[in-house]
């Protein structure tokens, strides 16, 4: 029987941990608060060290905390991150997403900075500034940078944030043998900008009940009793992170895969491991390809998705070509699964846009933390609630209490 408005908007008869107020996916005020309380506080995976292998190589990164950054490898091989801004008049220092420099030279007035962030040239310095300002006064702003967990480059805008390792905790221990077996190399990087909320697309990596969306995953896993699909378990870690247990993927069951027998060091044959990191990073090793998703939220219904695929640095051209073929089956912009995931997340963004009348969103499945349990989302939203000081099921409760007291 269909529901009227009051019934539609009523809270589910479930614990508040098992549903979310749809406003957390669309309210601009909550988004601004996420920026301050989450985006500017956590470690973000900005790139991989293989993307800047030589001294002077740089990569830009659009940080979700509203900062344009540039990561550069120094002449001492150390990776440093700076605000991509000239301290003179606020112009971008570099305009291209990657490149190689000896010095960063601002196009505007030719101020120059070395790859350690020191200002090394101010044209006509003395005639203009006399002794009132010198190069030492105008070095670049450095951002905390750490390299780890397979050579990924992580940045944090908060000078006082805990270390990367304390924030990740043990969440990646489960994949460390595979991530650190040997040097990795990025072979795909591309973006997709969608009109949806970053948490919705992260959900698609945090719950696998949505495998009903993917005929590929049903054929190669869910419908295979011996695959271990239904035995895959979520393990929750402090900080909103979670890992998903491995299984044996039956790639041959799906026609047209062209899928190889390639594997990955330490990963069991046809294995698949996945770790979700708060607030929106997923490290996903599917047999022969490591996929890493990082999202850059721009607004409550606006997000840039970054997709990377990685292989081993030691790959021969033939092996690399096969890894690309394997990745393309499901994960390229033409891939079987990615298109479906992005369609569904975009559909959520459309249907739950601000001003619509969406119902409470359910994450209520309980199946002993196995693959169709929605504990991953519940665990995520518990961390979100902790950091925001708001319940994801009732995000305005504290304000109501405050208003009553006043």
């Amino acid at each position: 029987m269909s529901r009227n408005t009051a019934q539609w908007l009523a809270k589910p008869k479930l614990p508040p941990t098992h549903y979310a107020d749809p406003a957390i996916y669309s309210d601009p005020r909550l988004f601004d608060e996420e920026k301050a309380k989450i985006f500017k506080k956590v470690w973000w995976l900005a790139c991989h060290e293989s993307e800047l292998p030589n001294p002077g190589d740089f990569r830009t990164y659009r940080h979700p905390g509203d900062a344009e950054l540039v990561i550069v490898r120094g002449d001492d091989m150390k990776l440093r991150t700076f605000f991509n801004i000239c301290p003179h008049r606020g112009n971008l220092l570099v305009y291209t997403p990657s490149g190689s420099v000896r010095n960063f030279v601002c196009i505007f007035h030719q101020w120059a900075f070395n790859v350690r962030g020191d200002c090394v040239d101010i044209p006509r310095e003395k005639p203009g500034y006399q002794d009132r300002l010198c190069k030492d006064d105008v070095a670049l702003k450095e951002v905390r940078t750490e390299v780890g967990f397979g050579g990924f480059v992580w940045v944090n805008l908060d000078d006082n944030a805990p270390s990367l390792r304390s924030e990740i905790g043990a969440a990646l221990d489960y994949m460390l043998p595979e991530l650190e077996a040997e040097p990795l190399q990025t072979f795909w990087y591309y973006q997709a900008r969608l009109k949806t909320n970053f948490k919705l697309i992260h959900d698609t990596n945090s719950e696998f009940y949505h495998d009903y969306l993917h005929v590929y995953n049903r054929i190669t896993g869910m419908l295979k009793p011996d695959s271990g699909y239904f035995q895959r378990k979520y393990t929750a870690f402090p900080g909103g992170h979670a890992s998903v247990g491995s299984m044996v993927v039956s790639y041959d069951s799906y026609k047209s895969t062209g899928r190889s027998v390639l594997g990955w060091p330490h990963l069991p044959p046809q294995g698949w491991k996945l770790v979700d990191l708060f607030p929106c990073i997923t490290i996903n090793l599917r047999t022969s390809v490591l996929r890493v998703d990082t999202y850059i939220p721009l607004g409550p219904s606006d997000v840039i998705l970054e997709f990377r695929a990685l292989g081993l640095k030691s790959d021969t051209p033939e092996i690399r070509r096969q890894r690309e073929k394997d990745a393309a089956v499901i994960w390229s912009p033409f891939g079987r699964n990615l298109h479906e995931d992005l369609l569904a997340s975009s559909g959520q963004g459309i249907a739950m846009a601000k001003g619509s009348q969406p119902m409470y969103v359910l994450q209520a499945r309980e199946e002993d933390a196995t693959i169709h349990d929605e504990v991953g989302m519940r665990h995520y939203l518990a961390e979100w609630s902790r950091r925001m000081g708001r319940s994801s099921a009732d995000p305005y409760a504290t304000e109501r209490v405050g208003a009553r007291a006043a």
Partner: protein, 152 residues
């Protein structure tokens, strides 16, 4: 056979028409048995070419055959190609065409530009009619939004 440039150009345009119509058998009928289809894009972020599809004829037939089982954006795509270069040598022709692909939403009918790039086609001239031997779709566009399952 002695193919002329017009026949080669018409083959390129006919492939666009067949693909626009989602007439997969019609498209494959224009392709040689040795057909190979690739989609690539260059990433300036990692300074590397990316191969997003690389399939031989059998694989592309299976790829197309599985489409009805998938959840796919049903919006029609319109391919606009303009043949720029045709270089005929012996029993083959190398053809370069500019390409724009538009997506028209089923709901409301608004059209947006999905992608720009080029077709690098190899055409077999050794049969009774020109046939597509290989197509390399080299995309300039890398952000394809929610993507597509359809060949461009």
């Amino acid at each position: 056979m002695t193919a002329n440039r017009t026949e080669v150009e018409e083959l390129v345009y006919e492939t666009c028409l067949r693909l626009d119509e989602k007439d997969w058998p019609g498209f494959l009928a224009l392709c040689d048995e040795r057909f190979n289809y690739r989609v690539t894009a260059y990433s300036p972020e990692i300074r590397n070419d990316m191969t997003w599809l690389d399939r031989d004829r059998a694989e592309i037939e299976e790829f197309i055959g599985m489409l009805p089982k998938h959840n796919t954006d049903p919006s029609p795509l319109t391919r606009h190609a303009q043949v720029w270069k045709v270089k005929m040598a012996g029993d083959r022709a190398d053809v370069v065409s500019s390409l724009q692909v538009f997506r028209t939403a089923l709901n409301g009918g608004a059209t947006e530009l999905l992608a720009v790039g080029k077709y690098y086609d190899t055409v077999a001239l050794d049969g009774g009619r020109p046939r597509l031997l290989a197509r390399h779709v080299k995309l300039d566009t890398r952000d394809l939004g929610w993507g597509t399952h359809l060949p461009l």
